[in-house]
Amino acid sequence: MELHKTKIRRTVEERQGNSRSLTPIRRRRGWVREDNGRRGRAQGGMACANLIAMKISRDDVLRVAELAHLELTAEEVELYRGQLDEILSYIGKLEQLDVASVEPMAQVLFDAPDGAHPEVREDTLRPCNVADAILAQSPDAARPFFRVPKVIDR
């Protein structure tokens, strides 16, 4: 039963494109994603120091490809490894900057004039009749569902 839950949760996360989480942990009644951000911070110092020297390995590429649902050939793995390595080396220049007291820019135009981004709209129903148009061109539709390979093995 526990294994079953794990499988679904991972699938849902992966489908949501959450590439941060590798394994969910069970906490009390709910399911909570492992907070890799926090973990990363604890390791931060060491990870930072190592990053300039660290090159991306074949295993890194395979891991990332798995997270991103990309199936790569052996040649592609090596090709991308080399290119990503070069790019990441270039990106390493960000290490030169002291950002200890800088706030990350979470939202663009956070300081925009008052009223620039009204928070909510009226909570009224607006028709959106695109279901048929969407299903008509989906790869395998069984109205009102999208049909996919079996997910759950009972």
């Binding site: 706030e103 990350p104 790869p139």
Partner: protein, 481 residues
């Protein structure tokens, strides 16, 4: 001089009102031109004759009834293929959406059509807007109409080429790291990137949600102001679209620039800048000084970190945005015996190399153990880059730089080295990260006849000032400097 067509937005309005030409005849003129020249240029992926002529007929009916015409009535406009057009195939330059037909219009397209514009078709672009040359399109590259062995720039190369070749009076592009401004510079036409949030992103198929903007290519600056005026403004369907009022951009255009302070950041004139480009841009700045602008030297110390920042932030956002292409609901599906196998095979077959590279880079930057060192750090450096701009705007009214370090390069020249291709954006990504508006205007040609672009950055929501300077520059002969 730059553009292929002699039609301008004002020219179209006058001719239609005087009944010198019908909207249908005008549309036919452009559809014929596209038929003749597109095989060579590959600027268009889909031509929407049904939709275009239907709209032209509506405009003609309005003319016949003596009704007031919309501001873009009858104006033939092309739309980059990452922007949704109802009933018209939209591929994003990718095989994964080869036969995708959106069931709705992007707000920008809706507004253009409501103003009377005739949508000609969808233009070729780098796959999912990722690239600086349009060579990453899954449907073949676009040729620069000014020099056929060269790139039109990217990612909005098809739109830029269409306007430069006279195959559209205006075209929509999108800019995430430079993808409107740089092709504008390569093809020698005005190209405007509005402030983040100025134009709704509803219907723009997302690449990087905190960076994507829709903006126009046109034959002249006044036309860019007209198109922006129609598209801009709050859209309830895009929560990041700003409720800041849309000014009358046309009213700003001819105001004298005397006394305006133009900032020239030394960081954009260093190593890597082509000497001819530098020389033309310097002449452009001198022209503005001649018109009464005051040149103020600037330092924008984080300029050099912008590419590194961009290629973390944008790719991280892209890795999330492109997770939806999984073969389930739309687009390509490659069958698999399990769901995961279906995802993997679909994405392997459907995505090109650059898209895969960026998805992997973004995934890596967000993954366990690396998030803080890459993504969080990049978000902080982004704040520093934005601060460079806000600090500069304490002292100046506009910032002038070259748009691109080199003129249009040859097809195939940079495709083997992704990092080299990324560095084509060094002068544009800065403004992208800060969310400020920027325009590229033609600023002369190299000895080989290749266009050079001069870039003007303004304050957030300061498109009026940007368009004013650009317009005055153009009227003073900036393009032939």
């Amino acid at each position: 001089m730059s553009t292929g067509t002699t039609w301008t937005i004002a020219g179209v309005r006058t001719a239609l009102a005087a009944k010198k030409i019908s909207a249908r005849e005008l549309a036919r003129e452009f559809f014929s031109a596209i038929e003749r020249r597109n095989p060579e240029l590959n600027a268009f992926l889909t031509v929407s004759t049904d939709r275009g002529y239907a709209q032209a007929d509506r405009v003609d009916a309005a003319v016949a009834r003596g009704e007031a015409l919309g501001p873009l009535a009858g104006v033939p406009i092309a739309v980059k293929d990452v922007i949704s057009t109802q009933g018209v195939r939209t591929t994003c330059g990718s095989k994964i959406l080869e036969n995708y037909v959106p069931p709705f219009d992007a707000t920008a397209v809706e507004r253009l059509e409501a103003a009377g514009a005739v949508i000609l078709g969808k233009t070729n672009c780098d796959e999912f807007a990722m690239g600086s040359s349009t060579e990453n399109s899954a449907y073949g590259p676009v040729r620069n109409p000014v020099a056929l062995d060269r790139v039109p720039g990217g990612s909005s190369g098809g739109s830029a080429a269409a306007v430069a070749a006279g195959l559209a009076v205006a075209a929509l592009g999108t800019d995430t790291g430079g993808s409107i401004r740089q092709p504008g510079a390569c093809c020698g036409i005005p190209a405007l990137m509005p402030t983040y949030g100025r134009v709704s992103r509803y219907g723009l198929i997302a690449f990087a949600s905190s960076l994507d903007k829709i903006g126009p290519f046109t034959g002249n600056v006044a036309d860019a102001a007209a198109v922006l005026g129609v598209m801009a403004g709050r859209d309830v369907n895009d929560s990041t679209s700003a409720a800041v009022p849309v000014p009358d951009y046309a009213a700003e255009l001819d105001k004298p620039v005397k006394g305006l302070r133009i900032g020239v950041p030394e960081d954009y004139f260093g190593e890597g800048l082509d000497t001819e480009v530098k020389s033309k841009v310097e002449k452009g700045i001198a022209l503005l000084e001649g018109l009464g602008c005051r040149r103020i030297p600037l330092k924008m110390p984080h300029t050099d970190y912008a590419i590194a920042t961009y290629y973390i932030v944008a790719t991280a956002e892209a890795s999330s945005n492109l997770a939806r292409y999984d073969g389930v609901r739309y687009g390509l599906r490659v069958p698999g015996s399990t769901l995961t196998e279906m995802y993997r095979r679909t994405r392997e077959r459907g995505f090109g190399a650059e898209v895969k590279r960026r998805i992997m880079l973004g995934t890596y930057a967000l993954s366990a153990g690396y998030y803080d060192a890459y993504y969080l750090r990049a978000m902080k450096v982004r704040s520093l880059i934005a601060r460079d701009f806000s600090d500069a705007f304490q002292k100046v009214d506009a910032i002038i730089t070259p748009t691109s370090p080199t003129p249009a390069f040859k097809l195939g020249e940079k495709t083997a080295d992704p990092l080299q291709m990324y560095l084509a954006d060094i002068y544009t990504v800065t403004g992208s990260l800060a969310g400020v508006p920027g325009i590229s205007v033609p600023c002369g040609r190299t000895k080989a006849g290749l266009p050079v672009g001069l870039q003007i950055f303004g304050l957030h929501f300061g498109e009026g000032r940007v368009l004013q300077i650009a317009n005055v520059f153009e009227k003073a002969g900036g393009a032939t400097i």
